[in-house]
């Protein structure tokens, strides 16, 4: 009886081992050396897809960013493949949800690199996730074009990391410029307790002295905060002449809404992290008069006709609206820029990760949604400060602020582009 049992146990494990061998075999072959030497690109059978990873916050507090980014990725994949792909090869964008979570971001990055053998990754949506995966990107040697804005992502330069959005440093500079022009000397900062908010506050603290602006109150909110009465009440009594709010997702709209309800009595300035229709809808009456720096896409139809990128912006906006039945925003634009930079790099350099990286680094004068990109070995952040225009919300619509158009015209260096 006993020996019989023993045999049974051994048999069971033998069976388990056999299953493991069977399960292991097929997956093992294409994935022997993750990342560095993917087998497909060398012989190029037509139709062998070029795999690009797309990691976005499809759910969680930053889904307002991740959704349009993923939708843009899907749209571009269709467009490019309908036009015959790149040199006869289709592109395949593998989209993963980072769920607003840094660890999830790390895990899906690993999965895409080591299991799916992607040649490049676009995303993540948020600065925090980007900062978390940078080390893995650097050791795996896969190019990453982030859709997040923090200056710290590309400063100092990391060999394999690039980003497309206008940086928080430029946004703060632009806001302080506005404050100086309008005689605002004291501001209250209310920032999210996530990567974007923390980096934003750092930039404000860094740039304030030079702009002769005093930050008289520093308040924080987390992305689960539904009631900001406590923070706003303190700001109301802080003696500030304007409130600068730095965050993404629904929290900033609640801040604007409740500021209005509490009769805050000072202008509300937001970051480019709210450049999305959902902010206007969420903040309701509180959105009126909010001022923010943002890319030109939101006000594309208000741009002068000689703006070199006007046509591109309108094209993207109408294609997106046609496909998804909602208006395009700057976040989808960040993904557009990131994906087209990769596609462009594959076209000029080749489909190996190292070739893509080199080609991105050598990209100059690339007209994108966010602005005109110029990369170099010392500069992995492709835009210049004047990619921003100052926008205000009037009657529930994005409206170009008076005088801000001058900066817009300067951006592309005249009609020559």
């Amino acid at each position: 009886m006993r020996t019989l049992l023993k045999h049974r146990v051994l048999l069971l494990f033998a069976a388990l081992a056999a299953v493991a061998v069977l399960a292991g075999c097929p997956t093992q072959e294409p994935e022997d050396q993750p990342g560095i030497d993917p087998t497909p690109p060398t012989q190029q059978p037509s139709g062998e897809p070029i795999k690009i990873g797309g990691i976005f916050d499809l759910s969680g507090p930053a889904s307002a960013l991740g959704q349009p980014e993923a939708e843009t990725a899907e749209m571009l994949q269709e467009q490019i493949n309908a036009e015959g792909g790149i040199d006869g090869r289709p592109i395949e964008i593998l989209i993963r949800d980072t769920k607003g979570d840094e660890v999830e971001g790390l895990t899906v990055t690993r999965e895409l690199i080591e299991k799916e053998n992607v040649v490049a990754i676009v995303g993540p949506s948020r600065s925090g996730t980007t900062m978390a995966i940078i080390e893995m990107i650097e050791t795996s040697e896969i190019p990453l074009i982030s859709c997040a804005a923090a200056r710290a992502i590309t400063d100092p330069v990391k060999k394999w990391v690039f980003n497309t959005p206008q940086s928080d440093e430029d946004a703060v500079a632009r806001i302080f410029e506005y404050c100086n022009a309008n005689g605002i000397a004291k501001v209250a900062a209310i920032t999210a307790s996530d990567g974007f908010g923390i980096e934003g506050l750092k930039q404000m603290e860094k740039l304030a002295p030079a702009s002769k602006i005093e930050i008289v109150a520093k308040e924080e909110f987390s992305d689960t905060d539904k009631d900001m009465t406590a923070q706003l009440t303190k700001i109301k009594n802080s003696g500030a002449a304007a409130m600068v709010c730095w965050g993404i997702g629904p929290s900033p709209s609640l801040a604007a809404k409740q500021a209005n309800e509490l009769h805050l009595g000072m202008p509300v300035i937001m970051s480019h992290g709210v450049a999305n229709r959902r902010f206007i809808e969420g903040a309701g009456a509180g959105a009126e008069g909010v001022i923010l720096p943002a890319g030109k896409l939101l006000v594309a139809n208000q741009l002068p006709d000689d703006d070199p990128r006007k046509e591109l912006l309108l094209q993207y906006a109408s294609a997106f609206e046609e496909k998804y039945g909602k208006s395009a925003d700057t976040f989808g634009g960040h993904a557009w820029d990131a994906i087209m930079l990769v596609v462009n790099a594959v076209k000029t350099g080749g489909a190996e990760p190292a070739q893509i990286r080199d080609a991105i680094e050598n990209t100059t004068d690339f007209h994108g949604i966010g602005g005109t990109f110029n990369f170099s070995a010392e500069r992995h952040y492709g835009l210049s400060p004047d990619a921003f225009v100052m926008i205000t919300i009037k009657n529930g619509e994005w409206t170009l602020l008076e005088g801000a158009a001058d900066g817009a015209a300067a951006e592309d260096g005249g009609p020559t582009g």
Binding site: D227, T233, E261, L262, E281
Partner: protein, 292 residues
Amino acid sequence: MTAVQVWQFFLSGLTTGGTYALIALGFSLVYNATGVINFAQGEFVMLGGMITAAAMAAWGLPLWLAALVAVAITTIVGLVLDRAAIRPARHSSPVVLVIITVGASIFIRGLASIIWGPDERPLPAFSGDTPIVILGATITPQSLWVLGATLVTALIMWAVFEYTIVGKAMRACAINPPAAQLCGIELSRMVSWSFALAAAIGAIAGIVLAPVTMAQYNVGAMLGLKGFCAAILGGLGNGLGSILGGLVLGVLEALGAGLISSQYKDAIAFIVLIAMLLIRPSGILGREGSDD
């Protein structure tokens, strides 16, 4: 910190507290009928707000009709939850029931994100955005709606339990199930009633709260857990205690956030919960000496 500021925190705390009170009431109803702590209670709140917002946007319904639809659908969800998930497992251990209700809560949340997307959905305030100033502090008309809904629901519940046959039968079941069954009360009907009522109350809480915080697929989890704290605070299974627990918790949270630290606001409810468990495990209005 001026008196006006404290007063402001108190007022906004009362608003949040009203929501907690309604959620706590739902916990108590289901607990009395089944002994189950329904961790999906928070999802009823989410459904209330989301369905109202979606019905207004998609079908162009007026607010009152959309709200009615939301309450009806959420009630059905509550009944289905009872029939499909709780009833087949009612003889299982408490931990299995906890997992089932948490699983249900994750499932409902996921379904909501697929049906309506992950975006937050604003709902217009019922009677305008113009704040009312009371003794220097502002309160929005919507806050009054939240408090009003809490009060009216509490009164209706009281009337139901005091004066209707169903209410009396439910009370009997809560006090002594075998004896109630001997009197000819069908226990399973009463369980269905309690789930239906809990879901409806949750939906109402969600509808009045949505204009304040916006409706989103993921708001249910935290609200549910805080409502649970309120229920424990007031004495689990005690209706009046639930209302009181909710209001006290809301005010404590707002004062804690305003006077101590807004960063640790979400922890306050649970610190109160633990303190309560150590000092008076039966809750404010719970029977002294009762075990759980």
